[in-house]
């Protein structure tokens, strides 16, 4: 499983490096919307951090977002 994952990551990185031009989808002067709060991946970071804690207390799942570091025994 780990080898498969590593292979996928390496292939993805090679792919990203190899099709750079195709991945430039938005020019710098077209990025105004991405500076707005509503277009951020985490518009409310305070809620994201707290609910990560709450859902780890109330559910058996975790992951899928960055930032969890353990330290409360909640899971």
């Amino acid at each position: 499983m780990k080898k498969l994952l590593l292979s996928i990551v390496l292939l993805a990185l090679i792919g990203l490096a190899g099709c750079t031009e195709k991945l430039v989808r938005v020019q710098p002067y077209e990025m105004e919307y991405f500076a707005q709060d509503k277009m951020l991946f985490v518009p409310l970071d305070s809620r994201a951090v707290f609910e990560m804690h709450i859902f780890s207390i109330r559910e058996a799942s975790a992951g899928g977002l960055s930032g969890f570091q353990g330290g409360c025994g909640c899971r």
């Binding site: 994952l5 707005q36 709060d37 809620r47 707290f50 058996a60 992951g63 570091q69 353990g70 330290g71």
Partner: protein, 364 residues
């Protein structure tokens, strides 16, 4: 536990501070009140020093460990109205130059029954004129229970590896993929979870000492029209305890004015049961693995919420630069499906809870 969320796109580290107040309460008589301060200060052109510090005041209606052996019928339904305190502290250093951001730090928390310690590191590289970002983060905790009974081991560790790739798809669309690998070792159930079968026998919950899981998630954001964006999130999780789950989160954000953005969200969660989860009355003294917590059983939950991001008008805060101040508010209500173990643990058919956050951000 108040920890930073890593940058996953072209976000630069913050140079500012936040005052945070979070609250959680449910109909199982559990409450958490968590004030905290977040500070990220730019030290030089490339280095930032960050910290969060706070206090979590917690009340819990979970059963306290009896002072005698589990064979006793004694059971203490305690904790209501009595706060225990957790003091969490995080400290990290961030290096940010050109297209690279590297962060490393540590976390420490103290409470009467648990000590948490962890180290973490994250690296983000921005590519393709900031259209693409690749991130990797790793954290490893080295925690210890401080229980009032003998445990097989007092240790508990968790390690998490996150891989992120984000991509702008158009001037109005972006997507983020996340893979998480999670591993936990040590004493993984709650030391206070007690199974009382009504006189037949009484024993504590006991889970396997290792757990390994993976989460695969995708988040898609699109601008529906100029003031409105839609966020769609899906996560699939599975682990070697045979728990599988699906999480869907839909969220709409709309600019009502230049100073107010409102958000509405709906979240659905459903999971399957762990392989050692049985009906509470089906356990026998011969069972080595015992689950009491409803989280080891199949259930689903729904969450609805509202959020607001307020940027004060310039006249409102004449002493401050209004462009640097932001107030973020949120309130969410969740409700689980009914489950016999929720009735056993919390004396209610289903758990319904409210969590709110207030954050005042100020950028230097």
């Amino acid at each position: 536990m108040l920890l930073p969320v890593w940058p996953v796109r072209a976000d630069k580290p913050r140079d500012g501070m936040s005052y945070l107040f979070s609250y959680y309460g449910d109909n199982g008589n559990n409450r958490v009140i968590a004030p905290a301060v977040f500070l990220s200060k730019k030290l030089t052109d490339t280095y930032y020093l960050g910290t969060t510090a706070g206090v979590d005041a917690i009340t819990s209606a979970t059963k306290k460990a009896p002072t005698t052996t589990p064979a006793s019928d004694e059971e203490d339904e305690g904790g209501e109205g009595e706060f225990s305190f957790r003091v969490p502290l995080s400290l990290w250093l961030t290096y940010d130059r050109d297209n690279d951001t590297l962060t490393g730090g540590g976390y420490y928390s103290y409470e009467k029954t648990y000590t948490g310690k962890s180290l973490f590191a994250a690296y983000t590289r921005r590519l393709n004129l900031n259209n693409t970002a690749v991130g990797i983060s790793y954290s490893h905790s080295f925690d210890n229970w401080v229980p009032d009974r003998q445990l097989p081991t007092d240790q508990r560790s968790e390690r998490t590896l996150d891989l992120n790739v984000s991509q702008l798809l158009s001037p109005r669309m972006s997507i983020l993929f996340t893979y998480s690998s999670l591993r936990s070792d040590g004493f993984l159930s709650q030391p206070t979870d007690l199974l009382d079968t009504g006189g037949t026998f009484t024993t504590y919950a006991q889970y396997p000492e290792h757990r390994q899981g993976s989460a695969y998630a995708v988040k898609f954001i699109t601008l529906l029209d100029d003031p409105t964006s839609l966020h769609v999130y899906y996560r699939y999780y599975r682990d070697d305890w045979h728990i599988q789950s699906d999480t869907v989160n839909l969220e709409l954000f709309r600019d009502l004015s230049s100073s107010l953005t409102l958000g509405l969200r709906y979240r659905y969660y459903q999971q399957s049961a762990a392989y050692f989860a049985k009906d509470l009355n089906a356990y026998t003294p011969a069972d080595a693995l015992i689950a009491v917590d409803y989280r080891m059983y199949a259930f689903h939950s729904n969450t609805v919420g509202i959020a607001a991001i307020i940027k004060p008008s310039k006249g409102f805060l004449s002493r401050f630069d209004a462009d640097k101040v932001k107030l973020k508010l949120s309130a969410d209500v969740f409700s689980t499906s009914s489950h016999p173990n929720i009735q056993y643990q919390y004396k209610t058919d289903q758990l319904t809870g409210l969590f709110t956050t207030i954050a005042l951000d100020y950028d230097f």
